[in-house]
């Protein structure tokens, strides 16, 4: 019960912040919450199940294009586009996971990276359809949900917050379920899990599909909320970002993704206002983090302060 109360309190605080802070921060928060949803999906695979994927950009981009292309070419409205994006991410995860999960560890990282690169190149190759590197603007007719325009600050924030809240509560329920226990068991000791009657391949594929659905929903939301889809979202940096967020906030904690996404976002903002070498500052923070708090902020909290933190 305490865990649910904490999560609801965090959601309420985020809602209040988005509605009360000036418009500039409202937009930032909308972006953070969409990226945090992506990172939360990544966290289910990486943080909870130990699947270190370097290819999640392809799930994010698959969702983005599955939503944005029908909107662009056929004028789909936002709601079905969002569902198509979620399905797109899940299907991409199912297809690539069925092959990539035959490997583990470093090989799994390489195979997922290769799949993601192939997907990114395919987007560029079919530029007549996808808009390639330049991308395309989502028609504003498609950026309406329940009669409100998603281009305005407050509705956009509310849509991002709703998506994030749904994802957070679902992932809390998931990691506290029987299947959540199986996920952690696979991370901790796969061979032992197998000898307890668990089919590791089937369970990991299921996790990857859930993770892909999350990432796809985030990608679709990103396109619909910010009005643009482009090939850069399929690039390697969008596979690294959710990993950084999760490592910073705490891998294998439900709230780590949003904490990491928020901190990284504002750190990047601050660093780029001070120096043009902002990437250096970001890198420095990450090195310090890995050296001194390898479990991330909430991982540290769990180890020291509150062991039951989900």
């Amino acid at each position: 019960m305490r865990a649910w109360a904490v999560h609801l309190a965090v959601l309420a605080a985020l809602l209040a912040a988005g509605l009360l802070l000036p418009g500039y921060h409202t937009t930032n928060l909308a972006r953070i919450l969409v990226l945090a949803t992506f990172a939360a999906g990544y966290n289910l695979a990486f943080g909870y199940t130990g699947l270190l994927s370097l290819g999640h950009a392809m799930f994010f981009a698959a969702g983005m294009y599955a939503a944005a292309l029908p909107a662009w070419h056929w004028g789909w409205p936002a709601a079905p586009a969002l569902l198509a994006g979620t399905a797109g991410g899940a299907l991409m995860a199912l297809a690539t996971g069925a092959l990539a999960l035959r490997t583990a560890g470093v090989s799994f990282m390489i195979v997922t990276l290769m799949f993601a690169q192939a997907f990114a190149l395919a987007i560029l190759y079919f530029n007549g359809w996808t808009g390639g590197d330049e991308g395309f603007v989502i028609p504003s007719a498609s950026r309406h949900l329940f009669g409100t325009s998603l281009a305005a600050d407050t509705p956009r924030f509310l849509a991002a917050w709703s998506l994030f809240a749904l994802g957070l509560l679902l992932s809390l329920a998931l990691v506290r379920s029987r299947f959540g226990r199986v996920m952690v068991a696979l991370r901790e000791n796969e061979e032992r899990a197998r000898m307890l009657g668990i089919n590791p391949f089937a369970a990991k594929l299921k996790v990857l599909v859930i993770s892909g659905a999350w990432s796809g929903a985030a990608g679709a939301a990103y396109a619909l909320l910010f009005g643009y889809a482009g090939g850069s979202f399929a690039g390697i940096q969008y596979s690294i970002l959710p990993m950084l967020y999760v490592l910073l906030g705490g891998a294998g904690t439900t709230l780590g993704a949003v904490l990491g996404a928020g901190l990284m976002f504002y750190l990047t903002e601050f660093a780029s206002s001070v120096t043009s070498a902002w990437l250096f500052l970001v890198g420095l923070v990450l090195v310090v983090l890995v050296l001194f708090a390898p479990k991330g902020i909430l991982g540290w909290v769990r180890a020291r302060l509150w062991r039951e933190l989900p």
């Binding site: 029987r178 226990r181 068991a185 901790e188 000791n189 032992r192 000898m195 307890l196 009657g197 089919n199």
Partner: protein, 234 residues
């Protein structure tokens, strides 16, 4: 009909014939010990039976069903449980979660709470569900490993060197525990401690160089000349 049965089971590693055409039968309700010198193929044989490594030749049946090609996790779900020689628990999880995973993956995945507590009580770890498994003493970790095996609700329980590293007092408790498992469960025991073997086993199979050297009751094995020469060294 025997509960678990193997015919012509074979596994070679390069030129080494770890298990070389072994026939083996485990009867319902018995405690069957597998003994033999180091490198005799005991662990390979139970790995073949449990599905941790695939057999190159031969067949395995469990209660009449051919399980030779089944993956390990499917054999576990059919009631063939294996407990590890080197304690293999989930150290970062609580005792409750360790046992709950076994209940979920076993033959009777029902309500978790009472089943977990019953398995813990059976090995004498009742009330310790909230402890983190990695912080338990070595003896308690061995008991937890056993509780996980029991929580699978197995028909056959394979114990790989269960008394290794236990103190003398703990071994007595362990023997009583294993005796209490039969006849509901058939136990296959790999064990180096001959006192435990002679005390517990109803039948013994002796392996050497991947082949069966002898099988029989403890008294018969003790009297067997070939066994004495090859193994007991008497």
């Amino acid at each position: 009909m025997s509960l678990l049965s193997a015919r012509g089971l074979t596994r070679h590693f390069g030129g080494i014939r770890a298990v070389d055409g072994v026939d083996f039968d485990l009867e319902p309700g018995e405690i069957h010990a597998l003994i033999g010198p180091n490198g005799a193929g005991k662990t390979t044989l139970v790995s073949l039976l449990s599905g941790r490594i695939p057999a190159q030749a031969g067949t395995i049946t469990l209660a009449g069903e051919d399980i030779t090609r089944l993956p390990a996790h499917a054999r576990v779900r059919r009631g063939l449980a294996y407990t590890f020689q080197i304690t293999s628990i989930f150290p970062g999880l609580t005792v409750f979660d360790n046992v709950a995973l076994a209940v979920q993956g076993g033959r009777q995945p029902g309500a978790l709470g009472p089943t977990v507590e019953a398995a813990l009580a059976r090995v004498g770890l009742q009330g310790m569900g909230a402890e983190v498994a990695g912080t338990l003493s070595y003896g308690h970790q061995r008991l937890l490993e056993l509780a996980m095996g029991l929580a699978l609700a197995p028909r056959v329980l394979i114990l790989d060197e269960p008394t290794q590293g236990l103190a003398a007092g703990e071994i007595e408790g362990f023997k009583a525990l294993v005796r209490g498992l039969v006849p509901q469960v058939a136990v296959l025991l790999i064990e180096h401690n001959m006192e435990v073997v002679m005390d517990l086993a109803t039948r013994i199979t002796v392996l050497t160089s991947g082949r069966v050297l002898a099988r029989g009751t403890p008294a018969e094995i003790r009297a067997d000349k070939a066994v004495q020469e090859a193994y007991l060294g008497a």
